[in-house]
């Protein structure tokens, strides 16, 4: 009895030792590049700091400045919110629509799916550059050429306050719709065919089947896509950076863009930290909100 007990403890000791050895590279890198940064971020957001000078504690001054005096920051929050709301819902709706269109026996199904997913695997920076070319206001500019078929005069898409942000949003929807389609396809394929058969026997039409079977069973997927899309959209940066440089008249400046300019162009690391901390909080609160609200409805 005694011997057995002892060998067990020495075994479990060895297992713990192994575990810590295996985890050591992760723990070191993690502490250095994930945990310490979080602490630093909080600290820095209460200081005035550029790499050249020692940091100076200034309490809540950075936050006061951002919310009360920094009109560009407020503008960036408004633009980003507009962008988030205007991209995630179309991305989800179109993704669901495409998934349902493709989720049936079709000739060339694989090719169609690949074509819809392809934009998502292209680097944002290249996609943004290509779209800037499509939006070019000269005569042969692709989009202006298309709308000329309908008798609409050329529009300077990225150069006018009214159209710049919506133009960027269209590009983002184009790029992300494949991602949500793939997730919805996986979700649709997880719904047993017999549910639909039973509904058909009960005389339910297509629309009723969609509302009472497809949609409720897809709820976890919708939630998942919603959270991922929101997190991604709030951090939009590369698109305006390439397509408009935040202009015209700050109409496309986003939170991360302003954070980048503040931190690495003006070298105000304290204020930059405060911006990124506010953004992290916004994302965090919204994710929790989704999880709570949509979970409650499910029950």
């Amino acid at each position: 009895m005694f011997k057995k007990g002892r060998s067990w403890t020495s075994l479990s000791k060895r297992e713990s030792r192994n575990a810590y050895i295996f985890l050591s590279p992760i723990l070191v890198l993690y502490t250095l590049f994930a945990l310490i940064p979080i602490g630093m971020l909080f600290y820095l957001s209460f200081t005035e700091y550029s790499v050249l000078m020692p940091s100076k504690w200034i309490g809540l001054e950075n936050y006061k400045y951002l919310f009360l005096k920094d009109t560009v920051f407020i503008q960036s929050v408004i633009n980003t919110s507009y962008y988030v709301a205007g991209t995630i819902f179309p991305t989800i709706l179109l993704g669901l629509l495409f998934a349902m269109l493709v989720n049936r026996p079709l000739r060339g199904k694989g090719i169609i799916r690949s074509c819809i997913y392809l934009p998502y695997v292209t680097p944002v920076i290249a996609a943004a550059l290509v779209w800037r070319f499509l939006y070019e206001p000269f005569e042969g500019g692709f989009i202006n050429y298309l709308i000329s078929w309908f008798g609409i005069k050329p529009i300077n898409w990225l150069g006018t306050i009214r159209w710049a942000l919506p133009s960027i949003m269209v590009m983002s929807i184009w790029r992300n719709v494949g991602f949500s389609m793939v997730l919805f396809l996986a979700g649709l394929q997880g719904i047993p065919e017999r549910y639909y058969e039973a509904a058909k026997i009960d005389g339910a039409n297509r629309v009723q089947q969609f509302w009472h079977i497809t949609l409720p069973l897809l709820k976890p997927v919708i939630l998942f896509v919603l959270v991922l899309a929101t997190i991604g959209a709030f951090q939009v940066f590369q698109e305006p950076y390439i397509m408009t440089e935040g202009g015209p008249a700050l109409s496309t400046i986003t939170i991360v863009y302003w954070f980048y300019l503040m931190s690495f162009r003006s070298l105000r690391f304290g204020r930059g930290s405060a911006i990124s901390l506010i953004l992290a909080m916004m994302i965090f609160i919204l994710s929790i909100f989704y999880l709570k609200v949509l979970k409650f409805k499910e029950e």
Binding site: C115, I116, L134, W174, V182, F224, F269
Partner: protein
């Protein structure tokens, strides 16, 4: 009546295919247009859609981008950054995922929760601290033990790669996969006197291939896409990655005539990702559904 109904469905089916065709066309036209313009000479850049297939093909824009604008160097840097950080991520995350899934040790749940928690922090929030840590890295780039005096790991491959050598998402994905593998395998190997690391490396890792491939694809795609981190951590021209190179290059071109070179540069950035996608297509979609939907 019967005949009419048949015809009705045929027309409906045809309409459906036409609709899908238009849809697919709009999804891929930016790619076609990009390649088309990248093969034209400067004078023909402003042609309309009717010139989608260029009449006189020239590869000069590619030469201009690859040699003249140093995209060959950016390409090499991107491969080093992307492959390097992906390899580290795969190995460390697989080992970590296995440890969290199979080994019992004090603090297991707390550590795993910590890693999950850090998944919720956006990359931009870590940018400034990571930059400072890399800059003040002790005993590197002329720094003393306290990290003062030099530039640290700024403008080095190590500085580029290290902050992205593990991801919380990777550990999470691998753990979810290893948890589902049968425990008996490990017990049997143990009785045969197999060391813990050999169990992981020779028995469990080969079984986890679907998860590893999925993680490899995700990590590779995200790294190839990264702009902000390389933008702030590299300074010399010789260290730029493709994304940074393309961003700076397009900022220097302000004429319509240079669009062909810009599109050639964009094609160079896009092609590797498209190839990876086309070759590993099955794993892409499988990986997306592996990432958390099931259970």
């Amino acid at each position: 009546m019967n005949f009419n109904k048949k015809l009705y469905f045929k027309v409906l089916g045809l309409c459906f295919y036409v609709f899908l065709g238009v849809l697919v066309f709009f999804m891929i036209i930016p790619f076609l247009w990009m390649i088309s313009v990248s093969l034209k000479s400067s004078g023909h850049v402003t042609q309309t859609l009717s010139a989608l297939i260029p009449r006189n093909i020239t590869f000069k824009p590619y030469v201009d981008a690859w040699v003249g604008a140093h995209f060959s160097r950016y390409f090499l840097n991107t491969v080093i950054f992307t492959v390097g950080s992906t390899m580290f991520t795969l190995f460390f995350c697989a080992l970590g995922g296995y440890t969290f899934a199979r080994l019992r040790f004090p603090g297991r749940n707390a550590l795993f929760l910590l890693i999950l928690f850090s998944m919720m922090i956006p990359d931009s929030a870590r940018l400034i601290p990571q930059f400072l840590i890399v800059k003040f890295f002790p005993l590197a780039g002329g720094n003393n033990l306290l990290g003062k005096g030099g530039i640290g790991l700024i403008d080095t491959y190590a500085g580029l790669i290290l902050p992205f050598a593990v991801t919380g998402f990777g550990v999470f994905l691998c753990r979810q996969f290893f948890v589902r593998l049968p425990e008996e395998l490990r017990a049997a190997a143990k009785i045969d006197g197999c060391s813990e690391f050999r169990i992981f490396y020779q028995i469990m890792l080969p079984l986890a291939k679907p998860a590893i491939i999925a993680l490899a694809i995700f990590t590779f795609t995200f790294r190839w896409n990264k702009l902000l981190w390389p933008l702030v951590v590299t300074q010399s021209k010789g260290m730029r990655v493709l994304a940074v190179g393309l961003a700076i290059f397009q900022g220097e071109q302000r004429t319509l005539e240079s669009w062909n070179t810009m599109m050639a540069a964009a094609t160079i950035v896009v092609i590797p990702m498209v190839l990876v996608f086309l070759l590993l297509q099955k794993h892409f979609t499988k990986g997306t559904s592996l990432s958390g939907l099931k259970e």
